[in-house]
């Protein structure tokens, strides 16, 4: 009985409240909406409309590129920084706190500042590049560069999150394991692969899942930084959802997108869990 008592508060707090919005969205996704009112029942009509619209596939693909790039970059950089900042260094606390700062800036403000910085005409970055004799570069005007800039800004904003987690996980590793490895003359790389990585794997997995879900559902940063442009290049599926709901008031269609995103997120999470478990056994 004990474990059930321990999880009861969480179950009440989370599941009871989280289930309701989900069922609500599921129901609305079967209706046509007229402005903010719920119209007539259309069955799978909203879903059919989405599948017949070629931009839907691109929205998901753009999200895929964005999520994959951001997760890879922030997990890699976060782990590297955590390992370095776990060493006994001078100014260690200062470095740690410093890296935290971008994480604290809200998405809207981060996007506004980045848009100003990289503006091709009056942004400080562009002006500095011109001063150095480099050609004019429009980071937000080119399809590929815009996606790249978006991923970079997103990583900049969120890399502290995995870093903090990995740092805490590294602190939990008993030091005598490292001492033993050193005594046995095992190389640093091998120690990392065979001691550190397996021990922090549960935390890496959790970080990967949390980051994937939050990147997939991101709205404010891309909305303000690129607005989905140029030419839909960064029109992530989350932005499409936002637009359908709050710009065109297609609440039924937006709910259908939300349900599709929900399914995609679930598939991704299951994939991570399966992948990590399979790797653990090998």
């Amino acid at each position: 009985m004990t474990p059930y008592l321990f999880i009861l508060p969480t179950a009440i707090l989370v599941l009871s409240v989280a289930i309701y919005p989900m069922l609500y969205a599921l129901r609305i996704s079967f209706y046509r909406s007229e402005l903010l009112a719920i119209g007539r029942f259309v069955g799978l009509g909203n879903y059919r409309a989405l599948f017949q619209d070629p931009t839907t596939a691109w929205n998901f693909a753009a999200s895929g590129i964005f999520v994959l790039g951001s997760v890879a970059l922030s997990l890699g950089l976060g782990l590297l920084l955590a390992i370095l900042l776990n060493e006994r260094l001078m100014f260690r606390a200062l470095f740690r706190a410093w890296i935290l700062i971008p994480w604290v800036v809200s998405q809207v403000v981060a996007a506004l500042v980045w848009r100003w910085l990289v503006n091709a005409d009056y942004g400080p970055v562009a002006v500095a590049l011109l001063d150095l004799g480099l050609p004019r570069i429009d980071l937000l005007g080119d399809r590929h560069l815009a996606m790249f800039t978006l991923i970079l800004a997103n990583t900049w904003r969120s890399v502290a999150f995995p870093m903090v987690l990995f740092l805490a996980a590294l602190q939990g590793i008993p030091e005598n394991l490292y001492r033993a490895a050193r005594v046995d003359g095992i190389s640093r790389w091998l120690t990392f692969r065979c001691v550190t990585l397996p021990l922090i794997k549960p935390v890496v997995l959790v970080a990967a899942i949390i980051l994937t879900l939050s990147y997939f559902n991101i709205i404010a940063l891309p909305l303000v930084l690129t607005g989905g442009g140029p030419l839909q290049a960064t029109e992530l599926v989350s932005l499409r959802l936002y637009r359908e709901a709050f710009a065109y008031y297609h609440v039924g269609l937006a709910s259908a997108i939300a349900i599709l995103m929900f399914l995609a997120n679930m598939a991704l999470t299951l994939f991570y869990l399966r992948f990590m478990r399979a790797r653990g056994r090998a």
């Binding site: 919005p21 920084l81 939990g172």
Partner: protein, 273 residues
């Protein structure tokens, strides 16, 4: 470690910090510029002379009240989230029980729904319960949103605390809860500190829920307040950047306070003998 390697690490870290800080540096510089120098072209790199005007303006606005609200909500969210999630995280990492994996998975399911899709139903629910425009509703919704993450995190961290320590504590006469609070939690302090920081940053930065669930000026949080400097007709960059700089300070303070909990090699002593 060899000194060459050390120098390399310092150079790398300084470089990363510099690049990460560049956009923030622009924010700081802008906040100190006199109004007329903010929009100059080509841009002026340093303010001459630097002026605290924008900070004074922010301080004289409603911002201090928003800071107080945000601090209160964020702190209570940490307390509620950690209290609830600690129990569940412990249960999940220490007991075998039916439905355990299902429970963990269902927790994450709440995060698979895009946040905006939750907005309307949560608003309707809150208004039906008469909780709109209160601290309580913000704390409840934020805790609801963060608890799944923290349960997963704590469970991940507890996995690395050896089970033998629980047994030793219980042999010594502690109850389950006693073992949790006296032995296991102190050892997972880095994980708890990290979770507290993550919850704090979330609550401090959250914008859309705070905007939707509050309506009076006395209840607004910092991020909603920042939006007042951004309008359709333009952005008041001076005040906005000053307010952003001020909004960074509390998080740094909280981090520096909690970072004492990130103590090196803590379990090594517990496992000896």
């Amino acid at each position: 470690m060899r000194s060459l390697e050390r120098t390399g690490i310092y150079l790398f870290l300084t470089g990363v910090c510099a690049v990460l800080f560049l956009p923030i540096a622009w924010v700081v510089v802008t906040s100190l510029k006199p109004e007329g120098q903010i929009y100059l072209f080509p841009p002026r790199w340093l303010p001459s002379p630097p002026t605290p005007d924008h900070y004074v303006q922010v301080w004289q606005s409603s911002m201090p009240r928003y800071f107080f609200n945000s601090l209160l909500v964020a702190t209570l969210t940490i307390v509620l989230t950690l209290a609830v999630a600690m129990l569940a995280g412990y249960a999940v990492s220490r007991f075998r029980f039916r439905g355990k994996n299902l429970f963990l998975f269902l927790l994450m399911v709440s995060h698979m729904m895009p946040g905006v899709a939750n907005l309307v139903p949560i608003y309707l629910l809150a208004s039906r319960l008469g909780l709109l425009d209160t601290y309580l509703v913000l704390i409840l919704v934020y805790s609801m949103w963060q608890t799944p993450l923290v349960v997963w995190l704590i469970q991940g961290f507890l996995e690395s605390v050896p089970l033998s320590l629980d047994h030793a504590a219980m042999v010594d006469g502690y109850s389950r809860l006693g073992a949790l609070f006296r032995v296991v939690l102190p050892l997972s302090r880095p994980g708890l500190a990290a979770s507290a920081i993550i919850v704090f940053v979330y609550a401090w930065n959250e914008y859309i829920i705070a905007l939707t669930l509050t309506s009076t000026d006395e209840m607004r949080l910092v991020q909603v307040g920042l939006r007042y400097y951004i309008s359709q007709f333009g952005i008041q960059w001076g005040e906005l950047t000053a307010a952003v700089v001020l909004s960074i300070v509390p998080v740094i303070v909280v981090f520096l306070l909690l970072q004492r909990w990130f103590i090196y090699g803590m379990t090594s002593g517990a496992l000896k003998g």
